[in-house]
Symmetry: C2
Subunit: 133 residues, 2 copies
DNA sequence: TTACTTACTTCCATATGGTAAGTTACAATT
DNA sequence: AATTGTAACTTACCATATGGAAGTAAGTAA
């Protein structure tokens, strides 16, 4: 009887696939700001995402909407208001963000924390690391 | 008594910091091939990483060595042999890779799996998702 | 002497990203 | 009536990053 390896059942690599979705500049920053700071608007993100610029932010938001990570809602007020919100799929990237945070908190505590000491995720965020299974 | 928020204790964002380390093209692919396929050599990776090219692969390996994710060992044989191996720090990215895999397995089963059906991480990899806390 | 191997580097073209300024559609202010 | 303000972008132009093909170095084998 032959053994079934992961490679045998896969058409493409899920890690490569995820990288194509979230690997471009600002994508994870956008998700972070929406998930952790409740941001919904273009200029909020532009002002708070490290080294962001309107051209690239605009491109990323479009790609993310197309990929189904966020939804774009237009409110016809004056001035116009547009709200971006995470979809269920976008929210499912929380575990990935948590692992990104955890890695730097463990290996770069000098750069990350003002006191330069190690702190674990739960201590800092008051909730356990999210895991998607 | 004032409440301590994550922002208050941080000097820089750990998600941004991690993205700077693993966000460039091929970095996660290199770690994946080393961790999951036991690869150690330049040409092995060049042949198996999707759309890789020697110039960018070479640049990435140097950056990763500098960042302490991998170690480079030269064996003075003929022809010369060079081995790249994950450091402890590099191995600590496993939880992140697992979350990347899990996300696509959940949301892109049609693209990822030959049978187009959903499968969970443990089923496919015969071990639970790794989590760094 | 030519060919082969590994692990790259170099050159040049294309793709992506960044800066600053401009645009649209109103409404409020002067 | 003309100017100012606001949000959310877009455009033009330049800089940097990435990709593909070919070349290099050092040694063994044919």
């Amino acid at each position: 009887m032959t053994q079934q390896t992961p490679m045998d059942m896969m058409k493409c690599c899920p890690i490569d696939n995820t990288f194509k979705i979230i690997g471009k500049k600002f994508t994870v920053h956008i998700i972070r700001n929406m998930a952790m700071h409740g941001q919904t608007r273009f200029n909020q993100m532009l002002d708070s995402i490290e080294d962001s610029n309107p051209k690239t932010l605009s491109a990323r938001l479009k790609e993310m909407e197309k990929a189904g990570l966020i939804a774009r809602n237009v409110y016809d007020e004056t001035p116009i208001r547009i709200e971006y919100k995470l979809t269920k799929k976008g929210k499912d990237l929380q575990g990935l963000l948590d692992q990104m945070a955890t890695f730097s908190m463990k290996h770069y505590s000098k750069e990350v924390f003002k006191d330069g000491k190690q702190h674990n995720y739960k201590q800092v965020f008051k909730k356990p690391v999210t895991v998607l299974n």
